[in-house]
Amino acid sequence: MHRFANPGQFLRLSGALVPWLSAGALVLIAIGLIWGLFFSPADWQQGNAVRIMYIHVPAAWLASAGYAGLAICSVLSLIWRHPLADLAAVEIGPVGAGFTALCLATGSLWGKPMWGAWWVWDARLTSVLVLFFLYLGHIALVRAFDDPVRGYRAGAILALVGVVDLPIIKFSVDWWNTLHQPDTITLTGAPHMYIAMLWPLLFSTLGYTLAFAAIVLTRTRAAVMERRIRGLLMARASAQEPG
């Protein structure tokens, strides 16, 4: 694994992967959203509002999956002290926060016509809001120290403490009586969803997942290069100092 975490190897592999991920993301998102918006059936109860699902569900999945990725990078950072894991964690934070904000915003836009309210202090909504604040806290904390390494360590500890929110989000609809509906898709059971709705949802979810990966890889590539630039400039400056 360390071989692939080498920055040179990372730049080479990610440089080859990103164009494929980006192209796949564009195609799958386009298919999923056009299918979901124009060709999938309306829900018998919710009507056309169900079409918001093709944005909301991928955003919700990536809010949690992105945080799990952040936690994995934090473990790698704390145990192996690998700088690439630090850079990846820093770059996942804003993207994860963006997708969590998208999840909350589309949830509000779905909730208003269905529940009559933009927001309710429901267990699922509140736990996702906590996840958003965890992302914001991580973004702020890693940038709060003069020594970046101290920021990475503090951010990694915060990210690992925050992992406790992920099972709360997942099981909140089972543990408490919530206005938010229970899960319709699980890894273990058959989906409780009409197949004509399931396919566009799978396309858009896979497309957004590829987009998330492409964005994070591209941002991490930029961070690796920027760090190299800073190192070169510091080396030049110290070489030019008299004495």
Partner: protein, 58 residues
């Protein structure tokens, strides 16, 4: 159709937010690549996949 504004706003955000992240990420990596190539000739090889170190000061 009174649901149209909610659906349109959701799809607009669903395209806009990931789109902004994608465009800024690609602009940022392009700028970093150009700057690195300007100050370090080896960066051309590095971005093509040959060896590089994470920080020059390390």
């Amino acid at each position: 159709m009174d649901l149209l504004p909610y659906i349109a706003a959701s799809y607009a955000l669903g395209i806009l937010i990931p789109g902004v992240f994608a465009v800024t990420a690609f602009l940022r990596v392009g700028a970093a690549r150009r700057r690195l190539a300007a100050i370090d000739p080896r960066a051309n090889r590095a971005s093509a996949g040959t060896r590089t170190r994470l920080g020059g000061s390390q």
